[in-house]
Amino acid sequence: MELIATLKLIEIGDEIEVLSTDKGTAADVPEWVAKVGHEMVEVVDHGDHWSVVVRKAK
């Protein structure tokens, strides 16, 4: 949710990183990003949390 809201505020080409303890986020975000047409940069499992990086593409 914060990701969607933040993407509206940044410029095209900017990247944002979401840190989440919720595994669901790591799965949901790539699915949504693909659907809307932004770009996934990476998803990293840090053990106690996930880091998900998205680039705004439009």
């Binding site: 949710m1 914060e2 969607i4 809201a5 509206k8 505020l9 919720d22 669901g24 949901d28 699915e31 949504w32 659907k35 809307v36």
Partner: protein, 379 residues
Amino acid sequence: MGNRILIVGGGLAGTIIANGLCRQLGTQLRKGDISITMLGTSDKHLYQPGLLYVPFGKIRETELFRDQRKVLDKRVPYHIDPATNIDVDAKKVTTQSGKVHEYDYLVIATGSRLMLQNIPGMEEGAHWFYDLDGARKMRDALNEFDGGKIIVNVNVPHKCPVAPLEITFMLYDYLASKGVMDKTEITYTYPIGRLHALEPLAEWAKPAMDQNGIKYETFFNTKEVDPAAKTITSEEGETLDYDLLVTIPPHNGAEVITDSGLGDGGWVPTDRNKLLREGSSDVFVCGDTTNIPISKAGSTAHFEADTIVDNLVSLMTEGRWARDYDGKVFCFVETGMSTGTYVWFNYTTPPNPGAPSQMIHWFKLAYNRLYWLSARGLL
């Protein structure tokens, strides 16, 4: 440290803080060692959760308002003179009338505002209940409604995380009792891949919607509304027809926040435990306007305010911190016109809604009356 406290915003958060400080700092206030001043936008205090009942004609408009002067402790001067610039380096707040207020401690509690204008066609094509004017128009539209397609469209970010589900189930009950539900189709749209950001609420909502034949579209981020064609289109490429569109508009923080360069979208970067503005040691942030990724709700504002009161009093009288905010949020959830449930959670405990019951619905209705006590800091 000096002794002038300035509170910007006289909504729920600002009012609870002002009243709480007065109760704990009575002696200092009497002697004139400490001063508390509030800046606001209106002489009336609006009970926002009551707006949910307006479209169904279930609350009198006079019950929604109290005089701010009566809700706020007498010892706090209240200026209806909105802040136009907050300068955290010079420790000064400038107002619409051109006054400059210097402070030693600042509390920013300017809430959030509706941004219908962020979605093309929304203002013309949709109904909403997040402000009084919108709620009145929605009441008229529901009065006339005798069947067709209703869309409940949720945008982010927005305050009161449960209102979108509440309005959906209340619409269902209202239309069923009006006898038009058999000619009506309700579709609920949500931006992420499930029915609610809080997973347990999403899991609870799905069977409840299925059972009542309420349809849903997930991954629906609104791109535009065509008021003439009566369609709504998502960023994901879905277009839906509607006869009545009910939207939960996206929100931003107050204009003064962006104008003062204190945070994109009007959300102030805030330490989630101390509730201090990041980079400041004398600026507290409370309620909807923080950027903390938890629900923007009255209960959040209330629990945060209690923490800030305790810390400010300790800092001013003993030079130490009293406690951290633990992320606590509590929400009553109306699950129809006569049943309700509740959820609570904090930074470490996930939410878990109980089974809906009539008793909890009555609790919520009772709470609607108790709000004024809680704003006054008596609860």
